[in-house]
Symmetry: C2
């Protein structure tokens, strides 16, 4: 399954969230990561993130695309963060 | 085609970007909108946004999912912004 993750967390926890999410996914843009995961690794990722976020203040949104990746991805403006932009 | 939009723009332009994007898409989370678009409305959306963002500083990322919507969407933590979360 292909997963797109968008996080919106307090700046105090951004580093921890990004570090953990990058063990599973590719960082493509400031608060966006994506990649192919198994169901097991998806569960592990959520479990890892649950340990570091404050669920009263932070949010992490997952889009699960199923077997197929998205059709295309377009960026308007600058490439921010995301050292691993895949062309 | 189903489109997910993630924006990361200077706070001075957030209102304008959100206002324009909401003419086309549903606001689901702080910096995330999504919805079904025709090719023509997708082009119109990009053109509208291009008029308000500063491409040296802002970024807008589009995921185009093709005919099929995502398989599922999950939220961990709080629901922020996005008055139109679709369950």
């Amino acid at each position: 399954m292909y997963v797109i993750l968008v996080y919106d967390v307090n700046v105090a926890r951004v580093g921890k969230v990004l570090k953990r999410a990058r063990r599973y996914l590719t960082w493509v843009q400031n608060s966006v990561l994506e990649g192919e995961l198994t169901e097991a690794s998806y569960r592990a990722l959520k479990s890892d993130l649950a340990r570091v976020i404050d669920t009263r203040e932070d949010s992490v949104l997952f889009y699960v695309l199923g077997a197929r990746k998205y059709t295309r991805r377009e960026l308007m403006g600058v490439q921010k963060g995301g050292e691993e932009w895949i062309y």
